[in-house]
């Protein structure tokens, strides 16, 4: 009887040790498949502008055992922003608008996370962080959905073992907050910009 108790205690301790030593994973968002994208939509009364960016990099530290403790930084290469009209794209990248030559990166860096709820492999949370566009940093809170896909890296990138983290977020920002051509008339270029981020990161083993 005494031996049985010791055995159970040893097993419980071993399990606890394993849980407590499970380290958070670092997910790299440089996507070899080129699927990661950020979509932007401006819907003004006279004109709608839709485009996307795919030059996305960055790292997120995610602990599958404590999904509510996410930290990280996502970077979008300003030059990768694309709209289907070539003249509009030229304007978008020019000094009056995004000035991609002077400000080559759009950066979101998380600072805190709250209201995290996990169901199965999906965690929803409100992430507060700093969004920097044209060198202007503003603190914003973004609703984010994280989907942790254990051992799924091999299904996406052959010969690699590891996990995937899918991050989805949709949130509005204001063009005027970041000094993106504030003189542009709002009936043609909306002040409100709807951003939709759809990205996946990999944590190889």
């Amino acid at each position: 009887m005494r031996m049985k108790k010791i055995y159970i205690l040893t097993l419980a301790l071993a399990a606890l040790t394993r849980v407590s030593t499970a380290a958070p994973l670092d997910f790299d968002f440089k996507d070899p498949k080129g699927v990661n994208n950020a979509v932007f939509k401006l819907d003004a009364p006279l004109e709608a502008i839709n485009g996307s960016a795919n030059g996305i990099t960055g790292k997120i530290r995610f602990d599958p055992d404590a999904p509510g403790s996410v930290t990280g930084k996502i970077i979008v290469a300003s030059e990768s922003l694309h709209v289907p009209n070539p003249m509009m794209k030229e304007h978008l990248q020019s000094p009056a608008w995004l000035d991609v030559a002077k400000f080559p990166e759009i950066v979101f860096e998380s600072k805190s996370i709250k209201n995290a709820h996990t169901t199965g492999n999906t965690t929803t949370a409100e992430v507060t962080g700093s969004l920097t566009i044209r060198g202007i940093a503003k603190e914003i809170t973004v609703p984010v959905k994280f989907t942790y896909l254990k051992d799924k890296l091999g299904s996406r990138v052959p010969n690699l073992k590891g996990d995937l983290l899918v991050v989805r977020a949709a949130f509005p920002i204001k063009r005027s907050d970041y000094g993106i051509n504030p003189k542009a008339p709002e009936d043609k270029v909306s002040d409100a910009i709807e951003l939709v981020l759809s990205i996946a990161g990999a944590a190889p083993q």
Binding site: V166, S198, I199
Partner: protein, 86 residues
Amino acid sequence: MKKALRWVALALLLGGGTYWAALGAHRGWTQTSVAVKQIDDVTGLEGIVYRRQFVPGLDFLGATVLLAGVVAASSFLIPAKIAKSP
């Protein structure tokens, strides 16, 4: 000559309009690329790639109408043939 210019103007107008309508009657600006969505089976993400394709917009249609108008108007600048006296 006057008639020929008017026929050219009409051809430009009809040709431009037909070309614009045939390529989708796009009511925005002219595009030189088109977004194509691709679903990633593993992550379920919808990736976006751009395929090079010319899609004439309302600006193209406007330019065609303007050009046809200029050609038609120029026909009025050509003096009418003076009828030869018998």
